[in-house]
């Protein structure tokens, strides 16, 4: 993924190392008293934290194991006995003996404890053989040093960097830890030390760092350090400003790509076929529910492959929506070509039926669609700017779908027939095109694209029976703004709306941004009554 492991990757590693440690543990085990274990497991938070610190600093491997187990919420108590649960088996935390913990209850964690645990773990992990874990631990320490300077931790950092321990640190972790140290040294009484710290920190363009530097600048007396601090703050400000712009553009594009995906199917069913398809949203919804079903099936029957359920969901969602679309076309819409406004009424009726159908089958409430791990987390493109993977995937997915659709419509014979049929149905028939089949196919294709959009939105939003209602207006807005029947127009309109929306939202808030975008759309249509990409010429 990236240079910076995400919190989740970090947790996964813990699991790995625990297995490793498990093999070594009988040899390395040191004593852990039942009282200490109990103090960590139960009681009020303050005492538990105290126990935690104590145990973390001890050399007891058992204690460390217990801390790690607690961090992954695997500690349970049975009577006064503290147990570590592992895949349906239990061991006694103090003795390491296997026991039967069938009646044990999990101990409670809260955020305060979790915070303390993370810090302790960071200190423990700093000397883990795995350099990735070292680095993650160092980062964690740096962060907590930035947010809440803690003398105990500061001492630990100093110690970790100094000789006997220092050699055991891998280079990247060491760098991070030095930055953490710099945070501490920024407050030192020695001016050269402060100067060096300021220079180290200038590299690290985070808002938190900026605050520390600015704070220090306020009380700094040494002019050289002052100067260094000032340039450091300015440098960070610059990089933050840049990051902000990049972030907004990215957010805009990512919103735009979702708009694009949801509008693309409509660009076909409405833009090309001229069906005012009010059930478009429901086709998206069906795609999302298809994803949910695939997801549930994987969870149940193929848990090992769960990570890849989305790949299976894509064709299935496409087919599901396409099938429903084909049925709609065959059963209802077929009779309405040439009466576009009537399709509004009929498809509205269809949408009501589809919503209720899904509601009766799956229930009115949201259903859970869990994103695969590889879509979580993000990539840090610059300091202070992490782009989430799922957004990146959706952008890429949208691009792929657009290209696919454009090729299909513009380059294939089938696409030609679709365009021909939609422009002049009876003449196309007279040319020997099986118009009924093309109609069904084209409608199913557009519906299938809506299904694909459903896969995408199931990864960012909620999946509920009225999911489609939320997208239908946006879809029409985008298609019409771009110019009906203009695929390129749809693309530009979607991205444009997304980016403009996000920029306005940046300074006016979400509500006003939405209103502003709507007003903007109205104004643009005034200037371009046939949409952004209106056909010019006689044929328009």
């Amino acid at each position: 993924m990236s240079g910076t492991p995400t919190p989740f990757a970090f947790r996964k590693h813990i699991g790995w190392c625990l297995l490793l440690l498990g093999a070594l543990w009988s040899a390395a085990a040191h004593a852990l008293s039942p009282e200490d274990a109990w103090a960590l497991a139960e009681g009020d938070t303050a005492t538990r934290i105290e126990a935690l610190h104590r145990l973390a600093l001890s050399d007891s491997q058992r204690a460390h194991d217990l801390i790690r187990a607690l961090a992954r919420e695997a500690v349970q108590v049975q009577g006064q006995q503290v147990l570590i649960a592992d895949n349906g088996r239990w061991i006694d935390a103090t003795t390491g003996a296997a026991v039967d913990g069938a009646g044990a209850v999990a101990v409670m964690l809260n955020n305060r404890l979790r915070n303390a645990l993370e810090q302790s773990l960071a200190v423990l992990d700093l000397f883990d053989p795995d350099p990735m874990r070292q680095q993650a631990a160092a980062q964690r320490l740096r962060e907590s040093q930035l947010t809440r300077p803690d003398p105990v931790l500061a001492a630990q950092i100093e110690r970790a960097l100094s000789p006997p321990y220092g050699q055991r640190l891998a280079a990247p972790a060491r760098l991070v830890l030095e930055q953490a140290q710099a945070v501490v040294r920024l407050g030192s009484s020695d001016a050269p030390q402060r100067l060096a710290a300021a220079q180290v920190l200038a590299e690290l363009g985070q808002p938190l760092v900026r605050n520390r530097l600015a704070e220090q600048l306020e009380r700094e007396s040494d002019p050289a350090v002052q100067q260094a601090l000032r340039t450091a703050v300015a440098a960070i400000d610059r990089s933050l400003a840049l990051a902000e712009v990049v972030r907004q553009v990215f957010a805009g594009i990512s919103l735009g790509s979702i708009l694009l995906l949801v509008a693309l199917g409509l660009a076909i069913t409405y833009g090309l076929l001229g069906v005012i398809n009010m059930a478009h949203g429901e086709l998206i919804m069906i795609g999302a529910y298809a994803t949910f079903v695939v997801h549930a099936l994987f969870q149940q029957f193929l848990p090992g492959w769960f990570e890849w359920y989305l790949l299976a969901a894509l064709p299935i969602a496409f087919m599901a929506s396409a099938l429903v679309g084909a049925l709609m076309e065959r059963g209802v819409i077929r009779w309405l070509y040439g009466r576009p406004l009537e399709t509004l009424l009929a498809t509205w009726g269809l949408s009501l039926i589809l919503i209720q159908l899904v509601r009766s089958t799956f229930g009115a409430q949201n259903v859970a669609v869990v994103s695969p791990q590889w879509m979580s987390g993000g990539i840090e493109v610059m300091s202070g700017l992490t782009l989430p993977w799922n957004r990146i995937f959706i952008i890429a997915f949208a691009a792929a779908v657009v290209i696919g659709v454009a090729l299909f419509i513009g380059r294939t014979r089938m696409g030609l027939f679709v365009r021909g049929v939609t422009q002049n149905r009876s003449m196309a028939a007279c040319m020997g095109v099986n118009t009924a089949r093309i109609d069904t196919l084209a409608f199913a294709f557009g519906s299938g694209i809506a299904g694909l959009a459903g896969v995408a939105v199931s990864q960012v939003g909620n999946v509920a029976p009225d999911l489609g209602q939320q997208y239908i207006i946006d879809s029409f807005m985008v298609v019409v703004l771009g110019g009906v029947g203009q695929l390129a127009g749809t693309v530009y309109a979607a991205l444009g709306v997304g980016v403009v929306n996000k920029f306005i939202e940046g300074w006016a808030g979400a509500v006003l941004a939405k209103i502003a975008v709507l007003v903007l759309i109205i104004l643009i249509i005034q200037k371009r009554p046939q949409g952004l990409f209106a056909l010019k010429g006689r044929s328009a």
Binding site: E73, M108, Q365, N366, V367, S371, Q459, N462
Partner: protein
Amino acid sequence: NPNAPIRIGVLHSLSGTMAISETALKDTVLMAVEEINGRGGVLGRRLEAVVVDPASNWPLFAELARRLLTQDRVAAVFGCWTSVSRKAVLPVFEELNGLLYYPVQYEGEEMSPNVFYTGAAPNQQAIPAVEYLMSPDGGAARRFVLLGTDYVYPRTTNRILRAFLRTRGVGSADIMEEYTPFGHSDYQTIIARIRQFAGQGVKTTVISTINGDSNVPFYRELGNQGVRATDVPVMAFSVGEEELRGVDTRPLVGHLAAWNYFMSLQNPANAEFIRKWTAFARARNIAGHRERPLTNDPMEATYIGINMWRQAVEQARSIEVDRVRVAMRGQTFQAPSGFQVRMDDRNHHLHKPVFVGEVRADGQFNVVWRTRATVRAQPWSPFIEGNDRRPETPQRTR
């Protein structure tokens, strides 16, 4: 006819945007009705639920309320979720002297003689929650993001919270208030801003009054952008077990919610409640719940409401509204929350316990804090100016 069934109205949206939340409440009423009938009914008469669908349409709420009261002549109505739907039916209930049991937490500032409020008032949810956040266990927060959907409940709650925070010495520079439209689904910008606001080195928490559909995208984006509960915890007032159903909760572990009931509470009353609901959901084949039965706070409040109504009717030996109203005062019930809740003698609100829970990986809540006893409701929040002069009992205004 003394042996004819007693009818009660169920006025919850089964379609439209609110169906997501309200459908389960309808089923809760039906479950309670079945249970009561199983025990011989009320006053020896069977209960019969008249279910209607106001379809998330507020005027339709008013119309159907009138219909329930005049055509179906129901003895009481259990219904409404959103405040606006309650406001829409209120004049009808007052005009026709009907009885409404409203089961959802709300913003207060109301006290009608024709409504019994079994959800929380702000002081039974929002204020304790913030107090918890400011405590060492809650992370000793000093900086707050008040994030909500742009409508009256969040705005009122936040107004109250602002006033409350001021009394705790939190300056307005440390409060960021932000609203999104209904159904807002793209939280990238807002969460980035929250991160910025939180990245100033002061312990910051988010108080979310986001409502409805927006919660899923909000929490998903939280997970995406790696906002962890240990850094910036989010405390929500309208996110419960049912709302979390649609989210992958693993990245959300540790985020918080405040309620008067959690499904994860361990006590006999709750075990019984969950058991009954599970059986009912399976028997009735309620989609979603038959696979994964969930209970939540408004369901509990609904259950309390209908049981208290039953007790009051039996005590009054009549279903007449005026007599039931009197009998409701001081009514108690052993609630699934594990506490004995009591209807206040005067203000038509319940005395309820308050819990703060942290999201668990399985979508349930870990109760990390609770009040020692039940808390009396303050529908007129003392943090709003002029409310000290408000009467303590509902006044008939028309």
